[in-house]
């Protein structure tokens, strides 16, 4: 009831190719093509803001953005005119360095604007280097230190249960982040407390700050590991919007046990020279690289 329809007026111009099985789970009534178009716009804005500030993390923003768009564009129950509505679903971006992805989606939903995100990482900007709930409406967590978001989400899930609320708590982590021990404390606790309203998305892009995850400390078969902790787990192509929407619907519906989606992604997805390239974990494109990215995304 509190959900506001997506405001922008481009919807009618885009052909719907969505299957009815998926569409019934999309409160924002966005089809696959719409979602893909939105993800493309987000990618452009991610590159724009990082290029402008000449700092930030493009790789993990580009790997995560399709899932984020899929989530916001379908099941995430928020009120765009009242981002702090108490009974909203929560989206906790634990990999807080991928903040450009969050700012790009909040822009799409009219919670922040272009002027806001183009001030990314500058003094006084509401768009801090790492997402911060104290600075930005629509941000549910103050991130920046990896491994903490799922625990925070677990606290939110306890609160939802105490409130007898149907709200769901979504948490996104990176695969490098799964090296943090605290994450497994939270995974274990969520099973013990039967936190069925808690949903985890792992952005399995295979690269962390210094190098490939396989070289730094391989995290192995995350599906089996998380499943062995008592969670329901599915694994998808994190850039295939139909698979994303299907998995999000599946996770959204499951309320008995905590639900996890392992999304296999490509770091830097959408910009050729950034794709699967560890050096673009936390580096801004220069002017020449920026123009190449813009051409590729246009």
């Amino acid at each position: 009831m509190r959900l506001k329809k997506y405001q922008k007026n481009w919807k009618a111009s885009i052909a719907f190719t969505i299957t009815s099985a998926i569409s019934e789970y999309m409160p924002f009534n966005m089809g696959i093509v719409e979602l893909e178009e939105m993800a493309l716009r987000c990618r452009i804005n991610i590159i724009k803001m990082i290029h402008k500030s000449q700092s930030g993390h493009p790789g993990g923003s580009l790997s995560a953005i399709d899932m984020i768009v899929g989530l916001y564009g379908t099941v995430l129950n928020i009120d765009t005119s009242n981002p702090n509505w108490k009974d909203r679903d929560r989206f906790i971006m634990s990999k807080g360095h991928a903040s450009p992805a969050i700012y790009s989606i909040l822009n799409e939903f009219g919670i922040i604007n272009e002027k806001d995100f183009m001030s990314f990482r500058t003094l006084g900007s509401i768009c801090q280097g790492h997402v911060d709930m104290k600075w930005t409406d629509g941000v549910d967590f103050s991130a920046g230190s990896l491994g903490m978001g799922l625990s925070f989400g677990l606290g939110c899930s306890f609160a939802a249960k105490l409130d007898n609320s149907q709200r769901n708590i979504w948490v996104m982590v990176g695969d490098g982040e799964t090296q943090e021990g605290q994450l497994w404390e939270a995974i274990m606790a969520a099973d013990f407390h039967s936190s069925g309203n808690l949903k985890l998305i792992v952005d399995r892009n295979g690269i962390q700050n210094d190098d490939f995850v396989s070289k730094q400390m391989e995290v192995g078969n995350l599906s089996k590991k998380i499943e062995s902790f008592g969670w329901e787990v599915t694994e998808i192509d994190g850039h295939n919007m139909e698979e994303i929407c299907g998995a999000i619907k599946w996770a959204n519906d499951g309320q008995e046990r905590p639900m996890a989606i392992i999304a296999n992604t490509i770091k830097g997805k959408g910009v050729s020279y950034m794709e699967n390239n560890p050096s673009f974990h936390g580096k801004a494109p220069n002017d020449e690289e920026y123009h190449i990215a813009m051409e590729e995304l246009s």
Binding site: D132, S142, G153, F158, A189, F192
Partner: protein, 315 residues
């Protein structure tokens, strides 16, 4: 709950307060396998639906508290003081930075913990939490003041850390005098004009004993229970340092970074008066009886008396 016959342990005051706070349905309790020690167990027995056991996983507990606080709950999370430190960065980034109203209690603080040995004797907790913006740091003297101050933390606009103590100590407060306790305001327990002894936790009763001994020598020592280490009651500090013109601090904590340091920082900026610091002098503890440990660390009543004489002599 049994009432201590000879004195009170501040952890019991914390446990009592949780039961009283339960009237507020937003109050929830978090445990990390030490509820029987921190005394949150009584809340658990009565309100199991509002008690969350997180196992031996303190880092997770701190962020669970943050998540609950962000959703409008009032989480009261406790474990041993030393094990809260395992979650320091979680408290720093997850609770203090976003200024969430999550309240942490670290029990068994200081070398007073005794025979468990140095691994359990937190002597740095007040120092590390004091560095965090938004945090209120409280270390009550006895069970009565711990209960009263715990009742008040839920009204704070941000997070808090309270250190409680395992063992019973002589009470410094009564059911009447507890009403004067206020977070952020030091409590004058004894008037005097020759030296002011500013103390917290288990050192409060020792400081009163020291003042009684000093009185027999004709020295009038004021005693202030500075139960709130942060924000420090600077107004009271100024008033009494001007009046007495010398200070002794006494804490069951490292002299690096705790109450003594906080007062020295202020003193160096304002009314520079001589001060002596009683506390743990840059060493770890060991197993032993509390009083034996205080003796080898020069933290007895007699050591406070000596420090007072020395501070006066430096005027």
């Amino acid at each position: 709950m049994s009432v201590p016959s000879e004195g009170g342990a501040s952890r019991d005051g914390y446990g009592n307060a949780l039961l009283r706070l339960a009237e507020n349905s937003d109050v929830v309790v978090l445990e990390a396998d030490l509820g029987k020690s921190t005394k949150s167990c009584h809340f658990r027995s009565k309100y199991p639906e509002r008690t969350f056991s997180l196992g031996i996983a303190e880092q997770n507990m701190m962020l669970v508290a943050a998540g609950l606080a962000s959703s409008g709950k009032i989480p009261m999370a406790s474990t041993f003081a030393i094990f809260t430190e395992r979650g320091f960065e979680q408290i720093r980034n997850g609770i203090a930075r976003p200024c969430l109203k999550a309240h942490i209690c670290g029990s068994h603080g200081g070398i007073h913990t005794g025979s468990d040995g140095s691994s359990a004797q937190s002597i740095e907790d007040l120092a590390i939490y004091r560095t965090l913006p938004n945090m209120t740091i409280i270390h009550p003297a006895d069970d009565i003041s711990a209960e009263e101050l715990t009742m008040q933390v839920v009204d704070l606009e941000g997070p808090s850390y309270m250190r409680t103590i395992r063992n019973k100590v002589p009470r410094s407060y009564s059911e009447e005098t507890k009403n004067e306790l206020k977070i952020g305001k030091g409590s004058l327990l004894r008037d005097g004009n020759d030296v002011v002894i500013i103390c917290c936790g288990v050192m409060v009763s020792k400081s009163i004993d020291a003042a009684i001994i000093l009185e027999k020598e004709g020295i009038n020592a004021a005693v202030i229970d500075m139960h709130t280490i942060k924000p420090l009651d600077e107004q009271m500090l100024d008033l009494w340092s001007k009046k007495c013109r010398c200070i002794v601090t006494a804490e069951d904590h490292s002299i690096i970074g705790g109450l003594g340091s906080a007062i020295a920082e202020h003193n160096s900026r304002t009314n520079l008066v001589p001060m002596e610091m009683i506390g743990v002098k840059d060493r770890f503890g060991e197993s032993g009886d509390s009083e034996e440990l205080f003796k080898i660390m020069s933290m007895t009543t007699e050591d406070i008396v000596k420090a007072a004489r020395k501070s006066i002599s430096r005027k």
